[in-house]
Symmetry: C2
Subunit: 143 residues, 2 copies
Amino acid sequence: MTQALGIPRSLGEIYGLLFATPQPLAFQDIVDRLKMSKGSVSQGLRFLRTVAAIKPVVVTGDRREFFEPVIELRQLVSGFLRERLNPQIETWGTRAKALKPTDFALETLSEDDRETLDSRLDKLKTWQKRAGLVLPMVSKLLG
Amino acid sequence: MTQALGIPRSLGEIYGLLFATPQPLAFQDIVDRLKMSKGSVSQGLRFLRTVAAIKPVVVTGDRREFFEPVIELRQLVSGFLRERLNPQIETWGTRAKALKPTDFALETLSEDDRETLDSRLDKLKTWQKRAGLVLPMVSKLLG
DNA sequence: CCGTGTGTTCATTTTGAATTGAACTCAATG
DNA sequence: CATTGAGTTCAATTCAAAATGAACACACGG
């Protein structure tokens, strides 16, 4: 599933292991069970934390950090949107606003050409607006 | 933008070129302008066609196939959902249905463990249902 | 403070996906 | 039917992203 969204398989594996394990797991557990390097697991957990797909659990009397999966679809999706999609959409949007049809003029443009480029740039801005509007709704619909 | 969705940069480039060009372009135009191999362009165009991000245009008196970008956000998004996300969700869903808590039993499970696994499997099925419900709505909201 | 266990960092290596390019098919044209 | 140009296919290559692993912090307990 993650692969279809451009997220590395290993992250899916870590999440999957946590999901399939009733008890919270510690760093080393994951390394052992998945036979992954500590480096990978460290980076993987960091990412999963920033997108809020897992949550740390404190086990008293144990120095280690344990992790549990977040299982609310809404949280998973909005984490992905927030961390992955929104940043892209924003930079893309601000760059789009700066564009003018003449930026494309590799040859001189006919009046018709100018018009189609104008309307396409408009589209770009519309996309931007719609995305900003709809993505938050998606999270809510899933909640 | 495409990269955030796990779509190769080159596809974004082809689409971008078509988007930035008022006239429809032919295969060879794209190869020349982007300095890409024919193989890449061929596969790229195929993908863009299957997700309906571009449409072929017939220019009378010219043997070549020309292409125009599809600029409706709704079509672009639903193409992506249909070709990339839905297939994954389906196979994932059918596999999830076949799972039972005992499939996870690497050690013997306590009653508590069985319960949490049960509830997680339920979640999995809920996800599946919600996704099937919400994704089509997304396309509509964008249209 | 020293040792031990936990987790991080980052330069190197690996790997798998994307790209290339040569060989090919297929249509149209003279 | 040869020829030319358009586009496809697919094995080999490239390359960037991900994984590794050794060196490094950091905290805690003795």
